[in-house]
Each structure stands twice: as C-alpha cells, then as structure tokens.
C-alpha cells in the first residue's frame, strides 16, 4: 500500500516535509512491545504504536521498518524525530486509537506481518 493512502486512511500528518509519499509498504504490525516487533515484523513493514520513545526508532531500524505511526495524536520529542530522520525512517501521527487505526488499515487492504 502506498504511503499516501496510509496517510489519508489514518488522517495522519507526517513529521517530515521530505517524506516519500510514493513509498510502498508491504505489511503492518501494531504493538507497544519492542520485542514483538523484533519477533514478528518483516522488512518493509509499518509499525503502529502508542509508545513515543527513541527506542521505537532503534527497534524500527534493526527490524528494517520504514514507517512508524504514533497513535492517539502522541507526538514524539525532538530527540526521537531527529533520530528517525538520521535513520531514514518516516514518522506519522494519527489522532486515531491503535485499535481504530489498525482496523482502518486492515479494511483498506493492508495485511498483518505473517508469522514465521
């Protein structure tokens, strides 16, 4: 799914004006547990989370996640934003809850990272 469709579906804002909205995202996972991200996420995934910490960016980098969506309108601090920029990870903020955001993306056709 194209990043622009994800932004529209989640009524999200991007935290970087240089975001590549044509980026293709393959899968999604939704969790606040970083080890779950490392255990289940596939490369080129999107992570939905309510956790707003630099650890999320570190985890995303290790797991080759390209896009992180913060739910319930939570905005990360400048440290987290600058770390994401350095690592080339796109950050979005959606006003929706984790549940609603996941439901909308699933309904729009984005699938959960398959268990391996």
């Amino acid at each position: 799914m194209k990043l622009q469709k994800i932004i529209d579906t989640l009524e999200a804002v991007t935290l970087d004006s240089t975001t590549n909205t044509g980026l293709e995202v393959g899968w999604a996972c939704a969790t606040d547990l970083m080890s779950e991200v490392l255990y289940y996420a596939h490369e080129n995934s999107l992570l939905l989370t309510g956790l707003v910490k630099p650890q999320v960016i570190r985890t995303a980098e290790i797991a080759d996640i390209r896009v992180v969506v913060f739910t319930r309108g939570k905005e990360p601090d400048t440290e987290t934003i600058s770390l994401a920029k350095r690592k080339g990870i796109t950050l979005l903020v959606t006003p929706l809850s984790l549940f609603t955001a996941s439901g909308r993306l699933f309904s729009a056709g984005l699938q959960c990272c398959p268990y391996t």
Partner: protein, 148 residues
C-alpha cells in the same frame, strides 16, 4: 572487498545507557552490510544482537559484545557482569519476564528477548548462574545453499 578476510571486534556496553542503547547492534549491522553479507542474515544477526544488547543495558551494570565474521558464519558473544539468571529454562519461555515496570514502560520486558535470540540463531548457547553474570553465544551460518 576481500570477503575471505575474517573480521572481528568488540563493543563495550554500559548498563542503563538507554540513550545509546542499540548503537552497538546498529554498528554491527553496518559492518555486515559493508562486507556484503546477504540482507536476510544481517537482519537475523541484528535482531539477535539488539535483544542481547538490550538485556545488558536493562539488567546489568556493563557487558561486552564480541563479533567474529568469516565466510562461514557470524559469531556473536555477549558477556555481562549482571546478576545472572536463576532458572534459564524459565527465562527461555516466551512471555516470562522479570523486568520492572519502568522497563516495560519503555517497550521492553515482554519476555521475548531470549526466545528471539534463539529464533534468529542457528546455534544458541546461554551460560549463567546467580552472581556470576551471563554469557550468550550465537552463531548464524552463512551461505546455506545460496550465495551471500
């Protein structure tokens, strides 16, 4: 690049240093990328190393992460000066965790760390005893029927 050359090195890990947590794993990931190791192996090594690194930062005062890469394998050893693990079988169970609440608030302590290291390694060995620290050894074999 000379792929036959063996490379090795180490990172010192400081317990409680959450600002730089993950930096050693990120550096190792870059080293493997520069060497031209196939992405799927890099991903497994990075995840296993990151989990081990986080364990040192969360639970111990300090530790050392050593890596050793040749054409056959990636070997990672993480040795810490922590309190050790009382019941390794229990610690290996998915979902079992002794992490305090503040660690969970940072997104860690889900009880998946050791299982995740094992999942991403071809060989996984853990030696630990209360009061004696913990040593984790992981090997990921390269070129299993395919070119890296």
């Amino acid at each position: 690049m000379d792929h036959t050359r063996k490379i090795d090195g180490r990172f010192n890990l400081v317990g409680g240093d959450f600002t730089n947590a993950g930096e050693a794993s990120t550096q190792l990931k870059k080293i493997l990328q520069l060497r031209g190791v196939k992405d799927s192996y890099i991903r497994r090594a990075s995840i296993a190393t990151f989990e081990a690194e986080m364990n040192v930062i969360i639970y111990t005062p300090a530790g050392i992460l050593r890596y050793d890469v040749d054409d056959e394998s990636i070997k990672i050893t993480v040795e810490d000066m922590g309190p050790g693990i009382e019941d390794i079988d229990l610690a290996m169970q998915e979902g079992y965790s002794t992490a305090p609440e503040w660690v969970r608030e940072m997104g860690w302590g889900a009880g998946m760390g050791l299982p995740n290291m094992k999942k991403n390694s071809d060989v996984f060995r853990i030696d630990s005893a209360p009061g004696e620290g913990t040593t984790v050894k992981m090997i990921i074999y390269l070129n299993k029927g395919e070119q890296s």
